[in-house]
Symmetry: C2
Subunit: 557 residues, 2 copies
Amino acid sequence: MLSVDDILAASKVPFSNAEFNKSIAARGVPSSDLICLPPSAGWFGPNEEGKRVVKVLCYSKESTPNFYMRPIEGLVMTVDLDTLEVLKFSDTGREIPIPKSTDTDYRYTAQTKEPQMEPLNPISIEQPKGPSFRVEDGHIVKWANWVFHLKADHRAGLVISRVMVRDSENGELRDVMYKGFASEFFVPYMDLDESWYFKSYMDAGEYGLGMSALPLVPLNDCPRHSYYMDGIFATPDGNPFVQPNMICLFERYAGDISWRHSEGLLTDFQIREARPKVTLVARMAASVGNYDYIFDWEFQTDGLINVKVGLSGMLMVKGSPYHQAPNQDAMSGPLISENLIGVVHDHFVTFHLDMDIDGANNSFVNVNLVKERSLPGESPRKSYLKAKRKIAKTEKDAQIKLKLYDPSEFHMINPSKRSRLGNPTGYKIVPGGTAASLLDHDDPPQLRSAFTNNQIWVTPYNRSEQWAGGLLTYQSRGDDTLAVWSERDHSIENKDIVLWYTLGFHHIPCQEDFPVMPTVTSGFELKPVNFFESNPILRAAPAFETDLPVCRSSASS
Amino acid sequence: MLSVDDILAASKVPFSNAEFNKSIAARGVPSSDLICLPPSAGWFGPNEEGKRVVKVLCYSKESTPNFYMRPIEGLVMTVDLDTLEVLKFSDTGREIPIPKSTDTDYRYTAQTKEPQMEPLNPISIEQPKGPSFRVEDGHIVKWANWVFHLKADHRAGLVISRVMVRDSENGELRDVMYKGFASEFFVPYMDLDESWYFKSYMDAGEYGLGMSALPLVPLNDCPRHSYYMDGIFATPDGNPFVQPNMICLFERYAGDISWRHSEGLLTDFQIREARPKVTLVARMAASVGNYDYIFDWEFQTDGLINVKVGLSGMLMVKGSPYHQAPNQDAMSGPLISENLIGVVHDHFVTFHLDMDIDGANNSFVNVNLVKERSLPGESPRKSYLKAKRKIAKTEKDAQIKLKLYDPSEFHMINPSKRSRLGNPTGYKIVPGGTAASLLDHDDPPQLRSAFTNNQIWVTPYNRSEQWAGGLLTYQSRGDDTLAVWSERDHSIENKDIVLWYTLGFHHIPCQEDFPVMPTVTSGFELKPVNFFESNPILRAAPAFETDLPVCRSSASS
């Protein structure tokens, strides 16, 4: 992984390089305006040397802290991370102007124009008796019917482990998940230029999501009454390093309904039953250079775990000679501001989900919905769906591409533990909106990130298989990925198995993404299926007016 | 559409039917324990008579208001709605016991056991200065940068119209959508039995979503500080009828982040910027017999409209001789309680979205992401994605099935209105997790609901084409659906056009759905794309501690 020392050293290299200084002078940029960043170099085939290399690109920070919007286009160096030698210097694009700094500053204190909307009155999630969770021994979270361990990790960012939920009948704590975390990212950009082709980041293994996390901003990143947890890591020289307020934990009430039913229009029963949905969220945000990734693990009292990834921060943009949108087929993305192209790219996040449903030995079941045709004369109906359960015997049975027209549910079950009715206890993974990688399997970035070849994989637990792109990701060659492991085709039936899910986004930028992007969110759910004997929140209490707080405007009012 | 009078009359028919009373007596059910409901009959081919018919099924309400969980299985009547004559009487399944009433009552006052979880402290969304929206003339909602008309409709439930958003540069109100609403439902069950095959509900056109809505429950269906709006309809005899508190409107703060960026790990800038996300939600809930459908239209200050459908309430279940789960291939769904099968079914909701991006004349653009292969020697990269824009000329160009491996963005643009950069102003529809109908096109329910043959359609505006299943849905034959209209293949380029989107759910029930289902939600987004010149919420203010309320536990503390 790139260390902070690697990054700081590499980003200084250009300033002492004669060729670079000459080019910068020719472009009319004072070196005091420059800021340089080291994107990972990737790996592009067997002819590459056995050196540890990084690319270095520069931006102008003149008049703005949002230098990301001011690329020095086409100027890219390949730097040896050990010797800090410039191995390759590429200088194209001198005719491309540096995009203007106007309207790029996103800081609140820098705003001079009024927002064109009516101001909003203050709003807050309030719990005057305090939150309902406890954190024991610094890491064990207890809330409602849940107990789990929460920690900051320098690579995965946030790790949830030993997740247990209380049985709704007898109150016993039952295993749900041994460990869950974001194992790897893959962020390929769709531009072949010399200064762009290599951009195919694997943010967890190359930079570290935890190493990239900065302190959360109270009231704005997390609501009032949040609990904050520090990250404790090691610096490259082995000293301890504390990242304060790296994780927040809060109870969430969003005005949603946990369950409801009304009766009375057609029957004599006059029933109005509804339950508000209150959840617990563990959150961290990684600022991996330009992009900000927000991770939420949300726990519901009905046993559902909702995992969300939000994308915000800055686009990685490309300088362009154009002021006006030309025929867009000529460009690798839309013009989003004068002289600025938002290059098309993807984001994939692969989660390691070591489910332990009622214990370690589990099976993976594909519950396939198949269209059947009725027999002649059997029914006025001609077709219907049938749910067909198939237990995956080996890893290849669980290499799954999602299909809208060949749908399945994907269950992790404990074949040895059955409900009162005889159904195996289980959880299912429920994908939300997502995207698949379309790159060719022989394309080097896709080879290194072959864990995105499917949306779902299941492997037997192996303590050395935590990172979907391999333990040593930086300049990896794709020989130690989840895709390679899965090809062994080991048995996964009634074993300690790990579920891998990849969430994806295609991002075709637009003007609204300039100069900072409104958050885009997607996710997936882990949902109990015949795990509880019945609805575990049937007996939940409604909210009563008398329990709610009495508030006044503010301390000063 | 079935009227309340139709429904009440049909549900009384069994009680005066000798054959029915004989069967009930043989089953040992006192008629005072019965409650009967009239599911729509559908239409199953040209040999059906030209009568207005309904099916009638009964349940036992003995010891529980949740009679839905106690079907009198196999007993079904076909009733003439005009003469109230029983046209057909089918009586199978006498050997199937009526499932027990134990643990079916979902009312809070009926709960005797303790929930097996630690109680939660009160939590509330608080706004001591009150909400920031205004409702003028009873229907015009003004909030932040949005203005729209909100009304209750007896068929569609909730209608949003004349939606305008304020330009972030000059503050002018700009058109976004002329009208949006849930146009039709399709809920086919996957069981061929005589008492099940016809269950293929079109809830909007057969029952009416507004007619099925009951008053929302304050604090539980909608948060504190919500504004409530009545529905005013006509009864079958033409008298006015007021459904109080049918819609709620509230500001939502869920602890989410509108945008963020932190800087400081690798550069000298020490920046921590984040903005809390506050939205406005308009909600209604329809209780169409057993099922509850929750509709949310959520407006964000960044111009995004998030439309969500939540499903709760009761399953439509089938009596079964089994106490223990047998080989499930023998059944039309899983055993979810003793003698109770949760029959597999789908839910589709088709939205009518008459977008007016900066005026009525719009075009529909398919922005297709295509994988391209690099030329030999062109780049170390072998493949990349290219966004290819194609404007739909006619309706057939816009008949779209979503594909994970052939992805597109779907834009509604105004070809005559361009941004400063020359991009056409637009909105895109962003599908969330969804499901497609897999039934054969010649199956009568699918023919009647052929509007679910694609996920997206675009038609020229036609005032008589509001309802995707046809104006006269009850016993319709599929000759007046969106699928039929679209086959005309009219021009849709630079015209007043309507976007139709179908959201779907496959539902394989599980034990957790008994006796009332935790809410399952999905939705889609309408998102600005080059509509604003730049991020419209760049200048939004963060939250400050001094603005937030001071609260104490409760009035009594």
